[in-house]
């Protein structure tokens, strides 16, 4: 159920593919929304780990443009609720993620992405 938080943490890791290998482009995706528990501490702690631009872009690709282009100075309730929704409640059940650089296709089936590499792609 690839959530956008997960999408934000995965990069193409094909041998030699080390630049422009993130974020993976979402392709032919089927989206589902599922409610998740809100935990403010978790969100606050995670913000520094996020690639914000990539998150905003991925959210737009799946039809959510609620996030501001920059992380706001003040993390108010409303913002945290939005972030919670985008990070944890939008799930990609089917489709694929494609490397913008080498075009490797990582398919997603029943919510599980296959990030295995083929033999000629490993280091």
């Amino acid at each position: 159920m690839v959530r956008l938080i997960t999408h934000n943490l995965l990069a193409c890791h094909v041998k030699g593919c080390t630049s422009n290998n993130f974020p993976l482009k979402l392709q032919d995706v089927q989206i589902a929304l599922r409610e998740a528990e809100f935990n403010e501490d978790f969100l606050r702690g995670f913000i520094p780990r996020l690639e914000w631009g990539a998150l905003v872009q991925a959210a737009r690709e799946v039809g959510d443009d609620s996030l501001p282009a920059e992380v706001p100075e003040m993390l108010d309730d409303e913002f945290l609720k939005q972030l919670h929704h985008v990070l944890l409640e939008i799930h990609i059940d089917e489709g694929s993620m494609v490397c913008p650089n080498c075009k490797h296709v990582y398919p997603i089936s029943s919510g599980i992405p296959n990030m295995l590499l083929a033999e000629h792609e490993i280091g």
Partner: protein, 458 residues
């Protein structure tokens, strides 16, 4: 003065008792001093805590606690015990006037004849409790425990050796351990989805406690298989990521992945952050410093293959598919794999954890080992700068055993990912460093742990 409590442990996994207590105390942020001379193979321990509430927190979370008592006295004879109990009067005086009560006496490794039980209880009459005796719903329960040495394997008459105990303890029941019942809840046989690599419930719970799992935390299992530790970790409130080289382990046969079905059964489905198929030695993590803990049972090559992407040396070069082939992991294309030697895997795992953990985060994993060959250096030799050993508990199966190892990332520095380069050691070039007993565990296992095992084929 700190308060003293008598902990009564379940008769299981003795080596895990103290690490579990210490972990849960750390999770709640209170002090728990373990006396240096404490013999953790004994099922009773008298420990000091600042507050009664701390003892209750332990009783509600530690899987190995049977019950906790406010400690009054102990002795190697009843004379000793009573003398000290009289001196402890300030602790129990308040129950004298009008508190309903019950007394019981229990033998550990021994059943005590009814008549002597009555006598033991009678001998406490100097305490002069004036409240009424209430066997069903007493306000307080006073427990007396006679600890006998283990006599399994010897033949004895019933009650033989009665009264010849090692030590006797006395206190007031504070709380029954309520976490033990989770062993039933997570029983593998009653789970919607499991496999032949599933970890038994009690151990999965103990492992989750070693990670300090709690709401708001993010925990990762890089060899998730059928997800046994995911459920217990999520039950304690953490979000969990899982990955495995073999998607079929996580999915099973039906449309909804097996791990999700089992998680739903336990009401923790929302805490499965995500599942992913990949070889941990070729992983797609964009950055490190992500997780509060890593919990895992790595493959030892006995039941589940310890493998990694690549082709065994000496095989003819395969014909590469001309294009990257998009594939779904329950569909045919499965890249070739080669064996992943256990001591390489263990060293890599520590380095991977140093990369992926937040400062202060924990790595909790099992390492199988050969009983006769094990040395402390086997574990110490795996550590690296910034990673410190917290606990090492043995589950003993005879010729072999497995050690639950807990390591903390003490450094606040960030570290890069490991290279995952196998150590080269072939015939002729003996490795310079220490060779741990778990090196080539698979080979040793299948040779029945004979002393002069050949370098076996992996």
């Amino acid at each position: 003065m700190p308060n003293q409590f008598l902990f009564v442990f379940a008769q299981a996994h003795e080596d895990f008792r103290i690490p579990e207590l210490v972990s849960i105390a750390e999770l709640h942020g209170f002090e728990l001093a373990i006396p240096d001379n404490l013999d953790c193979s004994r099922p009773f321990a008298v420990l000091s805590l600042e507050k009664e509430e701390h003892a209750r927190l332990l009783a509600r979370r530690c899987i190995l606690i049977r019950s906790v008592y406010e400690f009054y006295s102990r002795g190697s004879s009843y004379d000793d015990l009573h003398e000290r109990n009289r001196a402890a009067r300030p602790k129990w005086e308040k129950y004298v006037p009008d508190t309903s009560f019950k007394f019981f006496v229990n033998g550990y490794n021994q059943s005590i004849p009814k008549a002597r039980q009555r006598q033991v209880i009678e001998d406490f009459s100097y305490m002069g409790f004036l409240g009424k005796i209430d066997l069903k719903t007493p306000e307080i329960t006073m427990g007396c425990f006679e600890e006998y040495r283990d006599t399994t394997g010897t033949t004895r008459q019933k009650h033989e050796g009665d009264g010849n105990f090692r030590e006797v303890y006395f206190g007031r029941l504070l709380e029954e351990g309520s976490a033990r019942s989770l062993i039933k809840t997570f029983d593998v046989k009653k789970r919607q989805y499991f496999g032949n690599t599933s970890m038994e419930a009690e151990i999965s719970l103990l492992m989750a406690n070693q990670t300090l799992a709690a709401p708001g935390k993010l925990v990762y299992d890089p060899f998730v298989g059928t997800g046994s530790m995911v459920y217990t970790t999520a039950y304690f409130g953490a979000h969990v990521f899982g990955s495995d080289i073999d998607g079929r382990q996580m999915r099973g046969k039906s449309q909804v992945p097996g791990i999700r079905r089992a998680a739903a059964q336990y009401g923790v489905e929302q805490r499965i952050m995500d599942l992913c198929t990949f070889d941990v030695t070729q992983n797609p993590w964009r950055c490190g410093g992500l997780f509060d803990a890593i919990i895992t049972d790595p493959p030892y090559g006995v039941r589940a293959g310890a493998k990694r992407l690549g082709r065994k040396k000496g095989r003819t070069t395969p014909v590469f598919p001309s294009e990257p082939r998009p594939c779904v992991d329950d569909q045919p294309y499965i890249p070739p794999t080669k064996p992943y030697e256990l001591s390489d895997l263990a060293t890599d795992l520590v380095l991977l954890a140093r990369y992926l953990l937040k400062p202060g985060g924990r790595l909790v994993f099992f390492l199988p080992t050969v009983t006769d060959e094990y040395q402390e250096l086997d574990i110490d030799g795996m550590l690296c700068e910034g990673m410190e050993l917290v606990a090492n508990s043995l589950q003993d199966f005879g010729a072999w055993g497995r050690r639950l190892v807990t390591i903390r990332k003490t450094s606040t520095q960030s570290y890069g990912p490991p290279t995952f380069k196998p150590t080269v050691s072939g015939p002729g070039d003996a490795p310079v460093e220490h060779v741990p007993a778990h090196r080539d565990f698979r080979g040793k296992y299948f040779q029945g742990f004979k002393k002069d095992h050949e370098d076996s084929v992996t």
